[in-house]
């Protein structure tokens, strides 16, 4: 039975799935977009770098959650435990801290590139808006994550940072209470920030990232200067 050489296994797997779900053509339309020549430059990679850092934050963050204890009495000790007792704990936590800083920097660099190449203009205004929300989410990740080590820097950083909200006329005190969960930064603030950092912000980030990517695929990237 000497016929054509057998197709590669991944092609056959694709055929098998396509036969059942009929997804090849819509998926290929979405995934197979050649990058235009004018966009093959390093400064068109900044958004992708930001997303890569987001993935690193997700993986290292999940790993940290296995040992971190979000209570006023245990938080700092659990950080010490991660740094001193857990194998590679220092590495995972340092990666999380450094990627957080880099993610904010890359996010802003990406926005600058979009601004300078004028890529935010019609018809891409809404993707600029989605990106702006992603910047705010990144900063919110940074602000809530800053409190979690529960050391002096975290406590006073969050105290001063949240006080800015309290400066709003009339509603400031109420908003400050909502943010902190107590008049001062206490264990109630810690669990609040922990919940936001671990659950609320990731869900929002996935929604806006999804929108960001669907829109860029639908519209294609902007033309040359």
């Amino acid at each position: 039975m000497q016929t054509q050489p057998r197709a590669k296994w991944w092609t056959r797997l694709g055929d098998w799935l396509d036969e059942r779900f009929d997804v090849r053509i819509p998926l290929e339309a979405f995934l197979k977009k050649p990058v235009p020549k004018h966009a093959i430059k390093w400064y068109f990679c900044l958004g992708g770098i930001t997303f890569a850092l987001f993935v690193i934050q997700g993986v290292t963050g999940i790993l940290l959650s296995l040992y971190y204890k979000p209570t006023a009495t245990d938080a700092y000790d659990s950080i010490l435990f991660i740094m001193n007792n857990v194998r590679f704990g220092w590495l995972i936590r340092s990666m999380h801290a450094w990627s957080a800083k880099l993610m904010i920097a890359m996010c802003i660099a990406h926005m600058l590139r979009v601004f300078i190449t004028g890529s935010y203009k019609r018809p891409r205004e809404l993707n600029w808006v989605a990106g702006t929300f992603l910047l705010l989410l990144t900063l919110a990740f940074g602000f809530t994550g800053y409190l979690l080590p529960w050391d002096q820097k975290a406590l006073w950083g969050s105290t001063v940072g949240s006080q800015i909200l309290g400066a709003i006329p009339l509603v400031g005190d109420a908003l400050l209470g909502l943010l902190r969960g107590s008049p001062d930064v206490t264990g109630l603030t810690l669990t609040r920030f922990y919940g936001a950092h671990m659950l609320v912000l990731p869900v929002l980030a996935f929604i806006f990232l999804g929108a960001h990517f669907v829109i860029i695929r639908r519209q294609g990237i902007s033309g040359p200067l």
């Binding site: 050489p5 790993l63 296995l66 435990f81 007792n85 194998r87 590679f88 704990g89 590495l91 995972i92």
Partner: protein, 159 residues
């Protein structure tokens, strides 16, 4: 000679394993394996049950041989990852947290003066941990210490 020419022409046809193909697979395989190992090692190591501090949870820790600490001497040991100062005076053994209650420097036993001193801001404590002078706002926490046989044990419950 003829054979090697054929091999070069075979490149990419997926049939034979010539030298170029072989080297490509080796290099790609090595790169992939090294990258996978570089990611897997920290992650698996991280997930592996971590080493607990010796005697954690209130157990006691053997810090030194009694012979290492004659009367008049004091030394700092690690008890459950916390520094503990053990002092041997004529009254016996004293163990205290070695973390200064002022700003967290590691205190030492000033043998000449017979007091515990902090090198950072000149806080002084008695051998029982009480503040003599200096900026320390609170006494040093005291640990239980026992000597059995030739070993000095410190109770780690406070750490």
């Amino acid at each position: 000679m003829g054979e090697s020419v054929n091999r070069v022409q075979d490149e990419g046809s997926g049939q034979s394993l010539n030298r170029r193909r072989f080297l490509k697979y080796i290099l790609l395989g090595f790169s992939a394996a090294a990258t996978a190992a570089g990611v897997a090692t920290p992650v698996v190591g991280y997930l592996w049950p971590p080493k607990q501090a010796v005697g954690a949870g209130g157990g006691r820790v053997a810090v030194a041989a009694a012979a290492d600490l004659p009367v008049g001497k004091g030394a700092v040991y690690s008890v459950n990852n916390k520094p503990v100062l053990v002092v041997h005076t004529q009254d016996g053994y004293h163990a205290l947290s070695a973390t200064c209650t002022h700003l967290g420097c590691i205190v030492f036993w000033a043998e000449q003066k017979g007091v515990i001193a902090c090198p950072c801001h000149a806080a002084f404590f008695t051998v029982n941990g009480n503040v003599i002078s200096g900026p320390a706002p609170a006494p040093l926490p005291v640990y239980q210490v026992q000597v059995e046989g030739d070993q000095i044990y410190v109770q780690g419950g406070q750490g």
